[in-house]
Amino acid sequence: MVKTALEEFAFLIPILPALAFVITFFFGKKMPAGGAIFPILAIAGSFVISFMITLRMLGNPEEVISQSHSWFAVLNFGVLIDPLAAVMLSMVSFVSLLIHIYAVSYMSHDPGKPRYFAETALFTAAMLSLVLSDNILQFFVSWELVGLCSYLLIGFWFEKPSAAAAAKKAFLTTRVGDVMFLTGIIILTSDLLKLAGGFQDGTYLLRFDEIFSYIPQLSALQANIFGFEISHLTIITLLFFGGAIGKSGQFPLHVWLPDAMEGPTTVSALIHAATMVTAGVYLVARTFPMFIAAPDSLMVVAYLGGFTALFAGTMGIVMNDLKRVLAYSTISQLGYMMLGLGLGSVIGLEAVGVSIFHLINHAFFKALLFLCAGSVIHAVGTQDMRELGGVGKVMPITAVTMTIAALSLAGFGIPGTLIGTSGFFSKDPIIEAAYIFGEHSNNWIPYLFSIAAAFLTSAYIFRLIFMTFTGKPRSNYHGHESPAIMTVPLAILALFALVFGGLTRTGFMAFLEETFTNSFVNLNIGNLAGIGRNELIGTTGNEPLLILWLPLIVALAGLAIAFLIYYLRVVKLGPLASMKNPIYRLLYKRYYQHEIYTEFLSLGIVYGVIAFLTQVIDVIIDSIVEAFGIITVGVSEELRKVQTGVVQNYATAVIAGVGLLIILVKLIMEVI
C-alpha cells in the first residue's frame, strides 16, 4: 500500500466534526448563529479530504486506505476507505455540508441553535466513522451513535410531547433491529473464536478482512433450529439484515420513520432521508460477501425490500402531511435499494453498484425534496397539503427544484440513451435486475413489486407537487421565497439530482465492483456465490425493449393520474378517499401499525402482561421475606406470656422440667 500524505489525514474525517460538536456544544451560546460555523468548516474539511481520496482512488481502486489500532482486548478501531466507503464518505459529507449551510437560515429563529448544530455535527461524525470503520464492532458503535443523535434530534423540540414520544419510538424501534445486529455480531464473534481456535496475536478479531477470510467455514457450520439445518452464516447475515431493517425503516420495523418527521425538517433531510437511514443498506453492501455466500439470505433481502417498496408506496399515496409523504417515499426507495442488493443472488457484485448508486442519487433528490418541503414549511408555516396549494407562485425556485427532484424520484428518462434524471439511471437497473431474476427463476414477485411501486412513486410524488404548488391557496398563508442561503443548496442539489446519474453511470458501477478485490480483501464473489448456492447470470441493461420502457410508462401513468385528479381536478374521489372506504381507512390508518405494535404488543403484552406478572412474583418473593419477621414477632408475643409472674408456676416449671428431662433422656437412651 503506497503511503501518501493524504491517507494520513483519513482519520480526521470523523474527528473534525466530533471536535466541532464539543466546541459548539459548550461554547455555541456565545457565538453568532449558535456557532454553526464550526460544524460547517469541519464538515467542509471532511468533505475535501474524502473527496480527494475518492478522486485518487478512482485512479487505482486496488489501493485502499486501511489503518487499524488496538482498542481493547482483541478488538480494534480503524479506518478503511475502499471504493464503497469513498463514495459514501463523499456523499455524506457533501450532503451534510449543504444541509448545515441551509440550516443556518432555517434554524435561525430557534433558541436551541447551539444544541442543534452540536448534535448534527456529532451525527455527521458518527455517520462518517460508521462509513469508514474497518471492523464490525466500530461499525456497530457508530451505528448506535447515529441512532442516539437521531433520537436527540427527533426530540429536539422536547417540550412537544409528540416529539418526545416520536424520539422514544424511533430509538426503541431501531433498538429492536440493533439487538438483532448485536446478536449477529456476538454469534459471529464466538464462531470466529471457535474457528480461529482462540485469540491469534497480530490479527484483529471482527475486522472485515478477518471475517471474510472465514466465510467458507462459517457457512459450513450448521445449526439446527426447529428441525431446520441452517448455516451459521445465514443466521448471522439475517441478524445483520435485522439491524438493517430497523435502521433503514424496512417492513416491519419502518413505523418509526414517519413519526420521526417531528424533528426539524433539516434533520429529516439529513438523517431520515439522505444518510442515516441508508446505513442499513450500507451494512448489507459492506458485508455483501457474507450475504452472497449465505444460502437464502439474499432472497429474504430481496423479498422484504421489494415488499417494503410497494407497501410504503401505498401509504404514501394517502398521506396529507407534506413530510410524511416524503417519509414513506424514503421507506419505499430504501426498499428499492434492499431489493437491488437482494438481487445480487443473480447479478452478483453488480447489485452493490446498482443499489449504492441508487442510494447516492436518492440522497441527492430526497434531501432536495425535504429541503424544499422545509423551505415551504419555513415560509408558509404549515405542512398539511390540504391547506397549501398555489405555493408555486410565491416560491418559484422552491417549486422548480422540487419538481426536478420529483422527476428524479419518479425516475424519468429515456432508456438506451444517456438522457434522464439520476433516479432513472439508478432505479431502472434495479427493476431490470428484478426482471432478470424473474426470468431466471420464474419468480416474478420481486419484479411485480418493483413495477407497482414505481407506479405509486410517481403517483404520490406528483400528487404532492400538484397539491402543494398548483391551484388556489386553500388557506390564507403568507409565503415568501426563502433567502439565498437556503435556495443555493437547493439549486446545487437539484443539479446533482438532474445530471449526476447520467454523467457517472458506467464509471460508478465499475468503480464499486472493485470494492472486494483490492489490497485489503481479495474475494472471488463467484466462488462465494457458489457457497451460497446462488448462480450468477448476466448483467442488467439488455432486456426486451418493453421491459426497458415499462418503468417509464408506469411512471407516466402515475403522473397522468395525479395530473387528472389534483391538477385538472376532473376526477372527484369524494367517497373513494373518505374514511367510509375501508381500503382508504386501512391505508390512512397505516395498516393499524400503531394499534398493533404500540398498543397491543408493547403496552398490552409486554407491559400489561409479562411485566405485570413479574411484578406480582416480586411482591410474592418480598412478602415471603417479610413473613419471617411478622411470624417471629407474633410467636414472641405469644411465648412471652409463658412468664406468668406467679412464683409457684415458676417452681412448677422447674419441677416439670426435671421430670420431663428424666423421661426424655430415658426414652431417647432406650431408642439409641
Binding site: 448506535e144 446478536t183 417479610e626
Partner: protein, 495 residues
C-alpha cells in the same frame, strides 16, 4: 514502598474517627473531603506502582494475628481489587462534593460514616485472610444501617432492618462455609490457616464432592445475596430507595459481593463436585436477574425504585460473565462492576437531585424538567444512555464482553439477556420522556437546577464513564491478566 494496602484502610478510618468528633458542618465536610482525597491519593499511588500485566498479588503485607487459629492480618492488591479500590476512591470524594451544600442534622456523623464505609469496603477488597475479609464484610453493614436510618425516607426503619438482617443472615451462612473450608483443610494439612489463597488452593484436595459443594454453595450464597441477584434481592429495592442519595451511592459502591465471586468462588468452582451444574446455575441466576430486574423496573412509578431494579438487572451481567468462565467474559463481568459503580452513582445522584428540587420521585408527577434543569438533564442523559448500554460509554464495553464471550458456553442465557436490552432501553427512555421531556408540570412550582458542586461531581463521573467507554484498556488490562489466571485454573480441569 508505602504499605499502601493497610494505609488505604487506615487513612479513611482515622479521618472518620476525627470527623465524628467535629462540631460544625464546615469542619466535618472539610475533614471528610480531605480524608477521601488522601485516600484517592493513596489509590492513585497504588495504581501508578501497579503492574497490570501480572495476576500476582502486589503490595502484599502479612503479620500474624491470632496464631492459635491460624489467623493472619494479610492484605494485598491485585487486578481484581485495584479497579474497585479506584472506583471507591474516586467516587467518594465526588460524593462528598455532591452533598457539600446540603445541610442536614449531625453532619459529623454523616461524613464520618461515609469514610468509615470507604475504609470497610476497601478493607474487604484488600483482605487476603478470611477472618479479616469477614470482619470488614460485616463492618460495611453498620455505616449503611446508620445512613439509612438517620437520613432515610419514610419507611427507613423497615428498609434498614430488612437489609441489615437479610444480608447478615447471608453473611453468617457464608461464615459457616468458611468454617467448613477452614477445618477441612486443617484436617488435611494439619496447619490451621484462614488465608484465602491457601484455603482455595487446598480446596481441590478435599475428598467428598458433597462437602465441596456444600462449602461452595454456602459461601457463594453470601455473595449472591450481597450482589444481589434474583431471588435474593428483596432487601435491595427498599434499601436503595429509602436510603439518602449518599447512602444509595454507597450501596452502589458496595461491590463486595461480585468481588467475592471473583476472588473466592470462581477459583473454587472448577473443583466443586459438579462444575457444569454450578455454571448453569450461575448463568441462570445471571440471565434471570437481568430479565427480571428489567421487567420489574418497567413497571415502577418511583424513579429511584426503577433505578434500583435496573441496578439489579445490571448486576446480572456480573454473574453471567462470571459463569461464562472465559477470560474476556470474566473480565467483562469485572468491568461491569466498575462501570456499574460509576453509572449508577450518576443515576442515583440525579434522582436525588430531582427529589430535593421537586420534592417527589414519582415519575408521572414530574415532566418537562429539562426546561428548568438543563444541566441535570445533560448529565442524567449520559447516565441513562450509559445505563442502557450505549456504545462509547462504559456500560456497553462490559455488556458486550460479557455477552459476546459468554455465548460460547451459555448461548441460551445470553440470548435472554440480549432480548432484555430492548426492555432496558424502554424503561430508561420512558422515564426520561416522562420526567425530563414534554410540557413542564407547573404544579412543581419554580425549581432550581443542580448547584455547581453537584454539576462538577456528576460531570466528573460522567466524563469517566465516557473516557473508560472509549478507552477501557487501562482498567480492563488489570482485569484480563487476573481473569486469565482464573480461567486457566478452570481450563486445566477441563471445565
Amino acid at each position: 514502598m508505602l504499605p499502601v494496602a493497610s494505609l488505604l484502610i487506615l487513612v479513611p478510618l482515622i479521618f472518620a474517627a476525627v470527623t465524628f468528633l467535629t462540631k460544625t458542618k464546615g469542619q466535618a465536610a472539610g475533614l471528610g473531603f480531605t480524608g477521601s482525597l488522601a485516600t484517592l491519593g493513596l489509590a492513585i499511588y497504588a495504581y501508578l506502582n501497579f503492574e497490570s500485566s501480572t495476576a500476582a498479588m502486589q503490595f502484599f503485607e502479612s503479620m500474624t494475628w491470632i496464631p492459635s487459629l491460624g489467623v493472619n492480618y494479610s492484605v494485598g492488591i491485585d487486578g481484581i481489587s485495584m479497579p474497585l479500590i479506584l472506583l471507591n476512591a474516586i467516587v467518594i470524594p465526588l460524593l462528598i462534593l455532591y452533598s457539600w451544600k446540603e445541610d442536614r442534622e449531625s453532619p459529623n456523623r454523616f461524613y464520618g460514616l461515609i469514610l468509615t464505609m470507604e475504609a470497610a469496603v476497601i478493607g474487604v477488597f484488600v483482605a487476603l485472610d478470611f477472618v479479616v475479609f469477614y470482619i470488614f464484610w460485616e463492618l460495611t453493614l453498620i455505616p449503611l444501617f446508620f445512613m439509612v436510618n438517620i437520613w432515610g425516607g419514610e419507611k427507613r426503619a423497615h428498609a434498614s432492618y430488612k437489609f441489615f438482617i437479610y444480608t447478615h443472615v447471608a453473611s453468617l451462612i457464608m461464615l459457616l462455609g468458611i468454617f467448613g473450608l477452614f477445618y477441612a483443610s486443617w484436617q488435611q494439612t494439619g496447619i490451621p490457616t484462614f488465608g484465602i489463597r491457601e484455603l482455595i488452593a487446598q480446596f481441590q484436595f478435599f475428598e467428598s464432592g458433597l462437602l465441596k459443594d456444600a462449602i461452595f454453595l454456602s459461601i457463594i450464597f453470601g455473595f449472591l445475596a450481597k450482589l444481589p441477584t434474583f431471588p435474593f434481592h428483596s432487601w435491595l429495592p427498599d434499601a436503595y430507595t429509602e436510603a439518602p442519595t449518599a447512602g444509595s451511592v454507597l450501596f452502589i459502591l458496595l461491590k463486595i459481593g461480585g468481588y467475592g465471586l471473583f476472588r473466592i468462588s470462581l477459583p473454587m468452582l472448577p473443583n466443586t463436585g459438579n462444575p457444569e451444574l454450578m455454571i448453569m446455575m450461575l448463568g441462570m441466576l445471571g440471565s434471570f436477574s437481568i430479565l427480571y430486574g428489567a421487567l420489574v423496573a418497567l413497571r415502577q412509578k418511583d424513579l429511584k425504585r426503577m433505578i434500583a431494579y435496573s441496578s439489579l438487572s445490571h448486576m446480572g451481567y456480573v454473574i453471567l460473565g462470571a459463569a461464562g468462565l472465559v477470560t474476556l467474559s470474566v473480565s467483562g463481568a469485572m468491568f461491569q462492576q466498575f462501570s456499574h459503580g460509576l453509572i449508577m452513582s450518576i443515576l442515583f445522584m440525579s434522582a436525588g437531585a430531582i427529589q430535593t428540587s421537586t420534592g417527589t420521585r414519582i415519575i408521572n408527577d414530574l415532566g418537562g424538567l429539562a426546561k428548568k434543569m438543563p444541566k441535570l438533564t445533560v448529565v442524567m442523559m449520559v447516565g441513562f444512555m450509559a445505563s442502557l448500554g450505549l456504545p462509547g460509554l462504559t456500560g456497553f464495553i462490559a455488556e458486550f464482553l460479557v455477552l459476546a464471550f459468554s455465548y460460547a458456553r451459555l448461548p441460551g442465557f445470553v440470548l435472554i439477556a440480549l432480548l432484555v436490552i430492548v426492555i432496558t432501553a424502554a424503561y430508561h427512555l420512558w422515564a426520561m420522556q416522562r420526567a425530563m421531556f414534554g410540557v413542564y408540570n407547573e404544579k412543581l412550582g419554580d425549581i432550581r437546577d443542580i448547584n455547581s458542586m453537584q454539576v462538577f461531581s456528576m460531570a466528573a463521573i460522567a466524563l469517566l464513564v465516557l473516557y473508560f467507554g472509549l478507552n477501557p484498556s487501562p482498567v480492563l488490562n488489570m482485569m484480563i491478566s487476573n481473569s486469565e489466571a482464573i480461567v486457566s485454573l478452570a481450563a486445566a480441569l477441563g471445565v
